[in-house]
Structures are given as C-alpha cells and as structure tokens.
Amino acid sequence: MNQTSVCEEQSFNRLHQTHALSLRNFLYYRFGSLEKAKDCAQEAFIRLWNNCSKVAFDKAKSYLFTTANRIFLDDAAHQKVVLKFEKRSNTHEAQSETNPEFLYQLDEFQSQLEQVVSNLPEKQRVVFLLSRIDKMKHQEISDTLGISVKTVEKHITSSLKYIRSELDELNHFSI
C-alpha cells in the first residue's frame, strides 16, 4: 500500500496540474467546442475524485481521458468540427509585422490551415494536435489513448501529408 492514492488531495492536485489542460485540449480537438470541452474535463475530474479509491494512480490519466470522452459522447450530438485557434502570445513577433500583404497572407494561411485540420479524420486530428500543440511524445499519446505507437505514428504522418496535399491544391504555400 505504498502506492500514491488518488484520494489524497495532494496527488489529486498534481493530476489536475499535469492533465487538466491536455484533457481539455483533447476534447477540443476531438469535438471542436471549447466550452463543452472545459465542462467535460471538469466532470471527468469529479468522477475521478468520487471513485478515487477504485482507480490506481498510474491509471488515473487514461481513466480521465476515457471518462471525459464518454461524458462528451453522452452529452453531445456529433457535429461538424470547426476548430479555431489563438496564437501563443509569447512567440517571437514574426518578420516585418508591418507589411500588410505579408500579414494578410499569414492570416489567410492560418485560416486555411485551421479548416484543413478541422477536416482531418477525427482520430488523425486528435493525435496530430496532441503531438504538435500539447507536445506529447508518441509514446505518451499511445498510453493516453490506448492505441499502439505504430498507429500514433501513422496518424501523425498521414495528417501532415494530407494537410500538405490539401494546401497544395489550394495553392497556399508562400514558398
């Protein structure tokens, strides 16, 4: 019984700190509603807390993801996903931010890219964004979602290729 218990407030807080954001993001990538994603993430944590004695600490993460996923499915009719992102605030201000044409192109590129990403098959999209935005390693994604590393890799490369071909069609690279 020397294992960390989820029922301790401290370990629960730690779980919250490490997983709340990526859980919320996962739900967002999957279903495309930020508010819903937030609510479901919170609900998943509540269920984890209520069942803390039944869940081992190292299983808590996949418990959270599975539960949140289920809550979302129970709750929402599956709609067309439309993702909208903000830019990280602390990124280096890109080249010549004063050139309006450049800014316009960049904007255009972002919105096209957002649309293409939204149109990716659901599983590919989730895996791809977890890897890029949440900076999860392939192994981590595989653990979290309960799929094999091979599948994760496949999803990510196919996503990237798909995005490229779509943008090629729209002729949207500024190279």
Partner: protein, 308 residues
C-alpha cells in the same frame, strides 16, 4: 519506389517525434517538401485553443460532495466537518444579524460629502467622498465613543472624554477636539485642527498631534509632524490640497472624488506630490497633477490609464 516511401515516412516520424533534428530530416526530404512541412508545423506549433491556462479550479472538484462509500473514515470526517460548519455558520449568521441591528453605518458615494451628528449629541463627523463609517449603538451607550472608518472623515468632538477612530491601518484617539482621519491602503493620515489627538498605527507606533499639526503614516513609520493653517480642511471647501503626499494617496483621492477607476500601469507610487486640485474640474485636476510628475495619462470614460 515503395521502399523510398516507407523510408521517407520513417524519417518524417522520427523528425516529428523530435528523435532527429530538422537539419537531419531536411537531408532526406526534397527541399520543397521540407519547406512546406516546416511551414505547416511552425504555424500549428504556435496554436493554442485559448490563452487561458487554468481550466478550472481543482478545489471545485475537491469540495464537491463525495458520493463514494468505500472510505468510511473520510465519510465520517466529512459528516463531522459539515455538522461543525453548519453550527459555525449558524453562529456567524445569528451574530451578524443580531449585531447589524445595533450597528449604524454611513456611506458616501464618489464625490459626495455627508455631515453626520454622532449619538453623544454634540460631536459631529463630516464624511468625505467614497468612505464608510460605522459604530455600534451599545458601545456609545456605555460611553465608549468608537467609530470604525474606511476612507476619510473630519471629526469635531467638543466634549472631553474617550473618542476613538479605528481604521484598518491604525487608531486615532482624541484627547478632546477637531481632527481629520484619512485611511488609504497601507497609509494613515491624521490631521489635528484643535486640541490634541494621539494616532496609533497598526504596528503600535504612535504619535501625538497638537493643533495645526499633521502626520502621515506610510511605509511603516510616521513622517515628521507638519504644520498647516488650521482652518477647515480643504476638501470640505472646493479644493483638495496635498503637501508632499505620496502619489498613491493623491490617486485614491482622485478616485473617490471623481468616481474614477485608475489603471496604475508601472508608475512609481511612492513619489510625492505637492499642490492643490479643484474638486469640480477633473480635466484641470489631471493637468495639475501629472505633467509635473512626468507621468502621462489617458482618460477613457471613467478609467484613467497612467504610464511613465
């Protein structure tokens, strides 16, 4: 051809997982491919769903009622805690309801001044703008004249005897007289117009002021006593004047008099200001204060933005 494809995929995978560097990857991919991928990834890498990093407060979850019965101890302690909480709550509510019927409170709005007769029949208080003063009826019946003040007020206490003004920053006790107490965050300003008062800061440091003397408690100590013309205070008339006053106090005076909300930016609040500003003309007041201190300001509706 086929092997070429899987090779490329492997390179791509390793690159995406950070196992090999971009440089390394670029050697195995065509230039065009590599640039396009880089452009996509650079863009996506900058995305976040929103800037809000706190998803929800974990305490919301921890405090939510627990349904699990598997842990008897925790359930029991929850029960005890909730019973105890209920009792404490009942006591508090009861006490405050009971107390509130015996507490008199006066409050002024932005720019408002109110004259209040105090229950001993002869003392008078002039409450300055955006201030709250309260006292308990029972204290005064027992002859204990005590007022709790947030903000600023002028007191005229002709009768001899104990008279205390309590603020969050300290207490001013009268030794029979007319005086002003002004409390702002972290600062207490006492001014004596007649007779003699003793001002005691939170930290128990005290100072005795005679007629025509004033002192400011700021940054943990009382400034040296200052002499002034002991007529009525300016704010009861139509100007407010400051004598080497920390700008924080000047700004709080502006806030309460004109109903402004001030965005301090990064200005240094410990600087001091000497001068007199009108109470009815915000534009002029701002012009008097800020240029002299080298602070630039911008007024947007009722919000004042400051910057060095």
């Amino acid at each position: 051809m086929k092997t070429n494809h899987t090779d490329k995929d492997a390179i791509l995978t390793q690159w995406l997982n950070g196992d090999i560097s971009a440089d390394e990857a670029s050697k195995h991919l065509s230039r065009e491919e590599f640039l396009k991928y880089t452009q996509i990834l650079t863009e996506v890498d900058q995305w976040v769903p929103d800037q809000d990093t706190e998803i929800f407060d974990p305490r919301l979850v921890l405090d939510s009622p627990k349904k699990s019965k598997s842990k008897v101890i925790s359930l029991l302690s929850w029960k005890y805690i909730s019973v105890a909480a209920a009792i404490i709550l009942a006591i508090f509510v009861g006490q405050s309801v009971w107390k509130s019927s015996l507490i008199i409170e006066h409050q002024t709005a932005y720019g408002e001044i109110k004259t209040v007769d105090l229950p001993d029949g002869s003392s008078k208080m002039i409450l300055s703008a955006n201030s709250i003063a309260s006292w308990s009826k029972s204290d005064w019946k027992k002859g204990k004249r005590k007022i709790t003040l947030t903000g600023k007020a002028y007191f005229d206490v002709p009768q001899e005897g104990e008279f205390d003004v309590v603020t969050s920053e300290g207490t001013v006790s009268v030794l029979g007289t007319r005086f002003v107490v002004h409390q702002v965050d972290q600062a207490l300003h006492a001014t004596c117009y007649q007779g003699r008062v003793r001002a005691t800061a939170k930290s128990n440091k005290s100072i005795v002021l005679d007629k025509g003397e004033s002192s400011l408690f700021f940054n943990g100590k009382w400034d040296p006593k200052k002499l002034f013309d002991a007529a009525l205070p300016d704010w009861i008339k139509d100007h407010i004047s400051f004598d080497n006053t920390p700008i924080k106090i000047v700004l709080s005076e502006l806030e309460s008099n004109y109903g402004l909300s001030i965005n301090y930016g990064s200005i240094n609040l410990a600087r001091r200001f000497t001068g007199s500003i009108p109470k009815e003309d915000l534009d002029q007041a701002l012009k008097i204060i800020f240029p002299t201190l080298g602070i630039s300001y911008r007024l947007d509706g009722k919000t004042l933005y400051l910057s060095e």
